[in-house]
């Protein structure tokens, strides 16, 4: 196993896990939790477990993300914030 790939994957996973717990917007939390699953897929492939990696890719990345997104839509947290300073908000409402 290449140790450099392992260290990069591990650091990506830990940073994404920090974002899951400490990020403000739940959009960011959703994206970060899917990123944790992507890092898990890489780790399972490195640990010689292709079956588990495929399961995590299908269930953890896709299905759980869809379930979380549906829940966010149902509890009124599915809002796209226009936080970019470059944008002109006044002309956006049509």
């Amino acid at each position: 196993m290449n140790i450099i790939i392992l260290v990069i994957t591990v650091s990506m996973l830990v940073i994404a896990a920090f974002y899951v717990v400490w990020a403000d917007s739940f959009f960011t939390v959703l994206a970060a939790s899917s990123m944790v699953s992507v890092g898990l897929v890489l780790l399972f492939v490195l640990l010689r477990a292709p079956d588990v990696a495929l399961t995590e890719a299908v269930v953890g990345v896709a299905l759980t993300g869809v379930i979380y997104a549906l829940t966010l839509a149902k509890i009124d947290l599915w809002k796209i914030n226009d936080n970019d300073d470059n944008n002109d908000v006044s002309q956006s409402k049509q």
Partner: protein
């Protein structure tokens, strides 16, 4: 034979890196979608062609993967852009 594959890998990773850079550096959502779709599609296809020069017996799988990439990536990016437009995210108009 493997040298050609290495050249494909290098150009593919350059395009993937440029796509990732564009995701960070572009000014608004629509430009970011464009950078994250076009460059990443080309980079993935070049990387898959590099894999073909290493393992020529996998040509069927690789052709299928390239076909699916060419089909699904534009659809997903158009769905994203449509969702952002309907939610009222405005287009970047300032040019410095």
């Amino acid at each position: 034979m493997q040298l050609i594959g290495d050249i494909f890998f290098l150009s593919g990773t350059i395009f993937l890196f440029l796509g990732a850079l564009g995701l960070i550096r572009m000014p608004d959502v629509y430009n970011r979608i464009q950078a994250g779709t076009k460059a990443v599609t080309l980079g993935s296809i070049l990387t898959l062609m590099g894999i073909f020069f290493y393992f020529p017996q996998w040509w069927g799988h690789l052709c299928l993967i390239i076909l699916f990439l060419l089909f699904t990536n534009p659809v997903s990016s158009s769905a994203l852009a449509r969702a952002f437009y309907r939610n009222g995210i405005s287009v970047w108009t300032k040019t410095k």
